[in-house]
């Protein structure tokens, strides 16, 4: 029996990856949920907005690297991030001007907004492919590991290694800061409160003299910031490829819906629920069990609940169960 090694295996293959992936999903889901809450539609273009923001950030990173700027052990992309956010915010605001505003004026049904956002998604998608190409781009620099599997083994003398990548630590750190800022903004500032009021009851908010265009603009800017941050963190942790961001849309929506659409707290919880269920349900627990159980009890089989083929199915099973039994999500969101 060796609980120490069992714990390390668990941390290395389940907890740490799940935590980082969950934080990335949570940031993405926050953007989706915000647009849903305030503007009242499901923004399909969110995944590609993330790709767009990441692309701008990558260009800025290259430029900075060309100038010889670096951020020590942290990736240069962090310095480039504000620039990426600014450009993405401008593009998203322009899209709102050119596209969404018209539909808001005619008070289009949410489903029309949804279709429109799918159109925006395709345009964004094409733009990204056009500007940066379709290949995988690794733009992380600086130190790769906080602690690598080999270092861990040498340091502790344990049989199993624990690896924590810089990008994983960074993802969690930045996500916490971003969420804290968002909540402070929504709950403490005047603009944030007006946003919540607008989301709560549009007519009442208008009667109280809240400027709707301003609320909409601020929402888009925050959404752009969240999308870019999530996209860059994700790209740093894995790699940038236009196609994967499009794919990311599914788990992000699953996370937002599970948590309760329109509820920021729910989006965060949803992100972690989806991430951990994907990793934990399909994880083969044999090695953990082999360490944790007394000698001779080690299992023959893999101790895998579901094959990894069904990873997607897990998040969607959760999604369906939640929609059936608690349509407003784990935290109270909107059911429409």
């Amino acid at each position: 029996m060796d609980l120490g090694n069992a714990l390390v295996v668990f941390l290395n293959f389940v907890f740490v990856p799940g935590l980082a992936y969950g934080a990335q999903l949570a940031l993405g889901a926050l953007g989706v949920t915000l647009v849903f809450g305030v503007l009242r539609f499901s923004n399909f273009a969110h995944g590609d907005t993330m790709a767009f923001g990441t692309m701008v950030t990558i260009f800025a990173t290259w430029w900075l690297q060309g100038m010889g700027v670096s951020f020590g052990p942290l990736p240069t992309a962090l310095i480039a991030l504000p620039f990426g956010i600014a450009v993405t915010a401008a593009v998203v605001l322009a899209t709102d001007r050119g596209v969404y505003r018209f539909y808001r004026r005619v008070r289009a049904a949410p489903v029309i907004f949804l279709i429109v956002s799918a159109g925006v998604m395709f345009v964004m998608n094409a733009l990204v492919r056009f500007f940066i190409g379709v290949e995988d781009i690794a733009f992380a620099d600086g130190g790769r590991f906080v602690v690598s599997a080999r270092e861990w083994r040498e340091l502790t003398g344990m049989q199993e290694g624990l690896a924590i990548r810089t990008t994983q630590a960074l993802t969690l750190g930045v996500a916490i800061v971003a969420v804290a800022l968002l909540f402070w903004f929504l709950n403490r500032t005047r603009t944030g409160k007006s946003m919540r009021a607008y989301a709560d009851n549009e007519d009442l908010a208008l009667l109280s003299g809240i400027n709707p265009e301003r609320v909409v603009a601020v929402t888009w800017i925050i959404t752009a910031a969240l999308a870019t941050t999530a996209g860059v963190l994700y790209g740093l942790d894995k790699s940038f490829k236009a196609f994967t961001y499009f794919q990311l849309l599914l788990p992000i929506f699953a996370a937002a819906v599970v948590g309760g659409l329109g509820n920021p707290l729910g989006a965060i919880a949803g992100g972690f629920v989806i991430a951990f269920s994907e990793v934990a349900v399909t994880y083969a627990w044999r090695r953990v069990a082999a360490y944790a159980l007394p000698e001779g009890w080690a299992p023959e089989g893999l101790m895998q609940l579901l094959s990894t083929d069904y990873k997607f199915a897990v998040s969607f099973a959760i999604l369906i169960v939640v929609l059936l039994f608690k349509p407003t999500g784990l935290f109270k969101g909107k059911s429409t």
Partner: protein, 392 residues
């Protein structure tokens, strides 16, 4: 309005001229998982077509042109639509494509067979396509993965490894390769600890790597595409799950070296390629034309397009029902050997009633009545570089 009229007049003229023109569809996944490879494949096919047209065309002066279509690699419905457009609207005489095994099968059954259009795929390698019903309209210049599975098992065994874990991309290609490999590896006394699928282009592979690590093994076989495959390898390295990897054809590429090079020293693999002078010659021609000829399946695409045109010339017809019977004749012995860059000579021999044995860039030799026999090169990473260590 004037412009529009002019344009339509020009179109009408072009239509009249097309009596002396035959079109070949280039149906590849310009978007989707293979979008990184498709441009170099299309360039290969178009190079062959340009070479023939520059030499005066086929059938005594018929120009050959290429029309591109997007197979998307993964979406069978989209690929079928694209192929249908090529056939009914562009009126292509044959299709160079499709690329991925799944969409190739869909296009063959839904478009090629009903319309009597011949297709030669440069890169569909699923074993299922060997026996797929085709009315003699389907060929491929890439070998079946049944063969690659055997080669890979031999290579792994020859390196003294007995247990491996396998992760394959969840489609016709990955599944076909993984299964044929497992059968071949177990036949030579090896053991596959886990044979698990991964979805291509997924957000995150922590779960897959976790399961593979739990199953264990001396090496990890990554039967996938280079984009996602690289991420899996990276993840496995980072978590310390595996440090030795085996790369089949979808993974062997410059990109793999660029992104992982020094971290995967000692890892090895194989991809269809031949040592012949045809390959070297093709790489030079590609360089001169401004694209990367060493990119996977680019040479196969060149050969596929060349075979189509030779078959047309040999049959003296652009009707697939007629020239489909000539593909094997021009691809295999007997006859004069033809290398890349010598397409004009081959056409002349055929015109004079002679026979050719097209070698091309990949030493073309079609077996089972439709597919390349397949010679593979064994590669290894040494000092962060991809090195060729032999051919099998």
């Amino acid at each position: 309005m004037k412009k529009l009229l002019l344009a339509s007049a020009a179109m009408a003229l072009a239509g009249a001229a097309s009596a002396q023109e035959v079109k070949i569809g280039v149906l590849l996944g310009f978007t989707g998982p293979l979008e990184a490879l498709a441009p170099n494949m299309a360039a290969g096919a178009e190079l062959a077509i340009a070479e023939v047209t520059a030499a005066g065309g086929i059938l005594g002066g018929t120009k050959v042109t290429a029309v591109r279509g997007d197979s998307t690699c993964v979406d069978a419905a989209a690929a079928t639509t694209a192929a249908e457009r090529l056939v009914t609207s562009d009126r292509v005489a044959a299709i160079m494509g499709a690329d991925c095994s799944g969409v190739t099968r869909a296009v063959l059954q839904n478009v090629a067979r009903p319309n009597g259009i011949l297709m030669i795929s440069p890169s569909a390698t699923s074993p299922a396509l060997t026996t797929e019903e085709s009315d003699g309209l389907f060929f491929r210049t890439s070998p079946s993965d049944a063969r690659q599975g055997v080669v890979m098992a031999e290579i792994i065994k020859s390196r003294g490894l007995d247990t491996v874990a396998v992760t394959y991309v969840n489609n016709d290609y990955g599944k076909g390769l993984a299964d044929s490999f497992q059968a071949a590896f177990e036949a030579v006394g090896g053991k596959v600890t886990l044979n698990a699928a991964h979805e291509d282009q997924k957000a995150d592979y922590s779960a897959e790597v976790g399961a593979l690590a739990a199953a264990g093994g001396q090496a990890l076989v990554v039967a996938g595409y280079v984009g996602s495959g690289t991420n899996i390898v990276r993840n496995a390295l980072d978590t310390g799950a595996f440090d030795l990897f085996v790369f089949p054809d979808g993974m062997v590429s410059q990109e793999l070296e660029d992104r992982l090079g020094p971290d995967i020293n000692g890892s090895f693999g194989q991809n269809p390629a031949s040592a012949g002078e045809g390959a070297a010659k093709y790489h030079e021609m590609a360089k001169a034309a401004g694209y990367d000829g060493t990119s996977p399946f680019s040479a196969e695409a060149y050969d596929a397009a060349a075979l189509i045109m030779f078959a047309m010339q040999a049959a003296n017809s652009t009707d697939a029902k007629v020239f489909k019977d000539k593909v094997l004749d021009v691809a295999n012995a007997p006859g004069e050997k033809i290398l890349p860059g010598e397409l004009a000579r081959g056409l002349e021999i055929l015109k004079a009633g002679g026979e050719i044995d097209y070698q091309g860039a990949t030493d073309v030799e079609l077996v089972n009545g439709r597919e390349a026999a397949g010679s593979y090169r064994e590669i290894e990473f040494r000092d962060g570089k991809l090195v060729v260590v032999g051919y099998r």
